[in-house]
Amino acid sequence: MKIIDKNGRLFGKVSVIDVIVVIVVILLAAGVYLRYFALETTAAVGQPSKPIEFSLKVSGVRQYTVDMLAVGDEVFSGGNMEKLGTITDISVGPAMQWGATVDGRTVYGEIEDKYDMVITVQGDGVISDGRFYVSRIQELGANQSASFFTKYSSFGGMVTEIKAL
């Protein structure tokens, strides 16, 4: 018996087109299930968003970067370019690092002419199972380092705190 007969039927019984359609429908159903039920990162998209606040530590930047960040600036993700929120507070202090001294001690020393900043950002996000998702599917969490930008500045930072308001 031929696998596909002259009418295009598998083993003379089922149309090849029908089989393809069934496969497509199964794949679509599987995709919908994964998107909305199985994968937490995408399932969170459909949930209502809430106001959240997070803090970013920006370490060892020069005065130029300090000057270009201001309260009211919108912050975007350097990864997916989506808006994360608006800067509500900025604190600036001398940049510090752990370094070795000539007598063998490890001390917390200051970096001349560089600054550490803590930027507070408020935006909307989805909280699902204790995880925070900002700008659709970007997950943010404490200790996470990432790149960010505003209209005027780009910088790397580490999330130090995130919470619902």
Binding site: D18, V24, V25, Y64, R105, G109, S154
Partner: protein, 165 residues
């Protein structure tokens, strides 16, 4: 013969055909919903406006100050598109950060070489999130590294200031 025609007509729409039609209708509906959502919520960049932007670019290890002139047209070295015209410039001592073995921090020292600070004017497209050159859509942000070439010289460094509007 009439029976054969009736059989053919009966076979015009099978269950699988209905599935195909349903799949196509669902996909079309999803596409339309996606398009509508996309139009309802414009990209984070918002509406674009045109304007002339003034920014400052530092060129490190720049020992060719004689070749710099006000009015020089600068081109970005990757895309080779224009990134502005030099409006003014200054040559300053180049600084580097060295470990300070007394304090564990870092201190600024001068290398004996020079850095050029170029103030550049360029027509840009400006949105809520981005300032990009009109000529090549080169995004301008403080902290971004940019390589440029002018008449008879090349250089690279960070954008260190952008005039806020």
């Amino acid at each position: 013969m009439e029976n054969n025609v009736k059989k053919e007509k009966r076979r015009l729409l099978t269950a699988f055909d209905i599935v195909i039609i349903a799949v196509v209708v669902v996909l079309a509906a999803l596409f339309l919903i996606w398009q509508a959502a996309k139009n309802a919520a414009p990209a984070s960049g918002g509406d674009a406006a045109s304007g002339t932007i003034v920014y400052t670019l530092e060129l490190n290890n720049f020992e060719n100050s004689d070749s710099l002139s006000v009015g020089d047209r600068l081109f970005e070295t990757v895309k080779n598109t224009e990134v502005g015209v030099v409006r003014s410039f200054e040559i300053v001592p180049q600084k580097v950060w060295q470990n300070d073995l007394e304090t564990g921090g870092m201190k600024v020292t001068e290398t004996g070489q020079h850095t050029a600070h170029l103030t550049i004017e360029v027509p840009c497209t400006v949105t809520d999130s981005t300032i990009a050159t009109k000529a090549g859509a080169v995004e301008l942000r403080v902290g971004r590294s940019l390589g440029v070439n002018g008449p008879g010289y090349w250089g690279a460094g960070f954008i260190i200031a952008i005039e806020r509007s």
